[in-house]
């Protein structure tokens, strides 16, 4: 007995073919959407690539771009096939290609599901990459005269302005590194020399004292002051931003997967019912369609022994 068998009249088959044609074109559109979202994510990641350490996160947008393109191609072909299935003569052209096409679509649908899961699993690697990248960026903030790092100051400044954040985890990260270049420090001044001597590495560390010292500023209490500086850390801000993008993309991929699954099921039914119709000799009559010829709990038909 076949798995999930359904009977199709000629009318039902034609309607199925039409519905599948529409579904295929909808899937082409979602494929294009996926492709553009993958491209968008790739551009967004590359914009901030200076702030990310070397981690394997490029695979997500690359995968999305590939899935989008393949979805377009497969569903375009599928649309053409379904359109032709209504006509008997045209169907015979595609007869041999149908089964390989269904296998490819099955494999592709599985890939789409894996892709959706990948989107949601990117979070951990992204956080680690941002953590390391931002630490390095803050450390090299002062190196505006070092080739390869001279634009890091501007990048970090614009990042903090745009994302309304300060430092890696918080603003206190800036107290632990020297972010003013030695070119602008007057080494003959006592204050500067004191600061340089206040730590083992001889770094000019700034003003944990000023911010934490309530008497340095009039009408100021650092414990309750919330609006003076951005309170959020840039790692969290960037993580939230990218997570938001990737989650919406993940949702689109899941919807694409559902469409692909329905297309796959429909095309399988169409293929089996058309082939059964051909086997019966009359494509205009009723025929059975199924997902699998041999179901999970059936026995293959016994061979009838020839009468001796």
């Amino acid at each position: 007995m076949a798995f999930l068998k359904l009977t199709f009249s000629k009318n039902k088959r034609d309607k199925l073919a039409q519905v599948l044609w529409i579904l295929n074109w909808v899937s082409v559109v979602t494929g294009i959407l996926l492709f553009s979202m993958g491209l968008f994510l790739k551009v967004e990641i590359n914009k901030r690539v200076e702030l990310m350490a070397e981690r394997d996160i490029q695979y997500v947008p690359n995968m999305l771009i590939a899935v989008g393109l393949i979805a377009c191609a497969i569903n375009f072909l599928g649309g053409k096939i379904c359109y032709d299935c209504v006509d008997t003569t045209k169907f015979l052209r595609w007869k041999l290609i149908l089964l390989p096409y269904i296998m490819c679509t099955f494999f592709f649908t599985f890939c789409v599901l894996v892709g959706a899961l990948m989107c949601y699993s990117m979070h951990g690697e992204l956080e680690e990459s941002l953590n390391l990248g931002l630490t390095e960026a803050i450390r090299f903030y002062k190196d505006t005269d070092t080739p390869g790092r001279c634009f890091l100051k501007r990048t970090v400044d614009l990042l903090q302005i745009e994302f309304k954040c300060c430092g890696n985890t918080g603003y206190k990260d800036w107290f632990q590194i020297q972010w003013i270049s030695n070119r602008y420090l007057d080494m003959s001044k006592k204050d500067v020399l004191d600061r340089l001597r206040s730590n083992v590495q001889g770094k000019y560390l700034m003003d944990g004292q000023q911010i934490s010292n309530n008497s340095a500023h009039f009408n100021y209490e650092h414990q309750t002051e919330e609006l003076n500086l951005w309170m959020k850390g840039c790692r969290q801000a960037l993580l939230e931003y990218y997570t938001h993008i990737v989650q919406s993309i993940g949702l689109t991929v899941l919807i694409t997967w559902l469409f692909e699954l329905s297309v796959l099921t429909g095309v399988r039914y169409l293929q089996t019912s058309l082939e059964n119709g051909l086997r019966q000799g009359d494509l205009n009559s009723e025929s059975d369609g199924w997902l699998l010829e041999n179901g999970p709990d059936n026995v293959p038909p016994k061979q009838i022994p020839e009468a001796s």
Partner: protein, 333 residues
């Protein structure tokens, strides 16, 4: 004498109507685009409403929006006329409207040209408006506790960051106002008292600027205070220092931005003018001297750009009259 006379065969007349129909729909789309451009420009002007003194410049996006909508309507009517122009039974109902249509289309073309002119003429007024608006904005920067002005500081800061500008004409505008609120000044401090006594109005003036004037592209962390004193900072000369703060004034930055926006709508507006005029011309050619029986019996029709009303004695007109008399049936006596 007729102006720009063209002979049309039946085939050519069909082609003209079809081409005109297509052109009308193109004009409808362009009208929609002009309307959207007007809406966008209006929204951009409204966003920076707080730093503008008057709303004279709003006349440009208002006209764009009106013209866009009118253009959509007018050209949609034109497309209907074109569609019906080949059908003898349906065309007569449009005949009455055609003159009115010509008038509206001509007015639209004039309005479009005036928009292009206005956007250049009003540049000076825009600058004046921005000058006054920004001056007030800078003056009320410190009034974060006054209702109605409490967001002025945030507005000016965001403006300076977004447009990469500082002050009205340049950063020295900040030296002339007190931009630190008195709530945060320690009046027992000698420095504060000195500064307040240094000017007639008793304002706390300093040669410093807010943080939003800082240029992130500077290789040096931003210097905001004692900008005119070379000795106050190591390795600093205010005469040659260019990258520390934004050098452009906000009035210049905003004027450039809006002029660029209006100039970019220029090509769109000019294309609409061209398309509208072609539709106008085409419709004029399409307007038939409606003599039903003569027209549909003969294979050739003559079309004029200007009605030969004053050409009674012309031979062409005489031929026409003769042909009409021969073609039309004589009324029964």
């Amino acid at each position: 004498m007729v102006l720009l006379k063209i002979k049309f065969t039946q085939q050519r007349r069909v082609h003209l109507a079809q081409g005109l129909w297509l052109l009308s729909w193109t004009a409808v789309i362009w009208g929609a685009i002009i309307f959207c451009l007007g809406v966008y420009l209006k929204m951009e002007l409204l966003r920076r409403d707080e730093v503008m003194d008057n709303t004279e410049i709003h006349v440009v996006p208002n006209i764009l929006m009106i013209v866009g909508l009118a253009s959509i309507g007018t050209n949609w009517v034109a497309s209907c006329v074109c569609q019906d122009s080949l059908d003898a039974t349906r065309f007569p109902r449009w005949k009455v409207l055609l003159l009115g249509w010509f008038a509206v289309a001509a007015v639209l073309c004039c309005l479009l040209i005036s928009v292009v002119a206005l956007s250049f003429i009003l540049q000076g007024r825009l600058e004046e408006s921005l000058k006054v608006g920004l001056r007030n904005g800078i003056r009320f920067y410190k009034d974060t506790d006054v209702p109605g002005r409490c967001y002025q500081k945030e507005t000016i800061d965001r403006l300076q960051i977004e447009f990469r500008c500082c002050g009205n004409n340049n950063f020295k505008d900040w030296f002339e106002v007190q931009w630190v609120s008195s709530r945060y000044l320690n009046f027992t401090s000698k420095d504060v008292k000195d500064r307040i006594r240094s000017n007639v109005d008793g304002r706390y003036l300093l040669d410093g600027v807010p943080f939003s004037c800082c240029n992130p592209s500077s290789p040096r962390p931003c210097l905001r205070y004692t900008l005119m004193d070379n000795n106050a900072h190591f390795n600093y000369e205010h005469q040659s220092e260019e990258l520390n703060l934004y050098s452009r004034g906000c009035r210049q930055a905003l004027t450039d931005y809006y002029m660029e926006l209006m100039n970019s709508t220029g090509p769109g507006v000019l294309s609409v003018i061209l398309i509208q005029m072609s539709v106008l011309l085409g419709m004029r050619y399409c307007r038939l001297r409606w003599k039903e029986s003569w027209l549909w019996r003969t294979q050739r029709a003559r079309f004029w750009l200007v009605d030969p009303i004053a050409t009674e004695g012309s031979s062409e007109d005489a031929d026409l009259e003769k042909a009409e008399k021969e073609a039309s049936p004589t009324p029964a006596s």
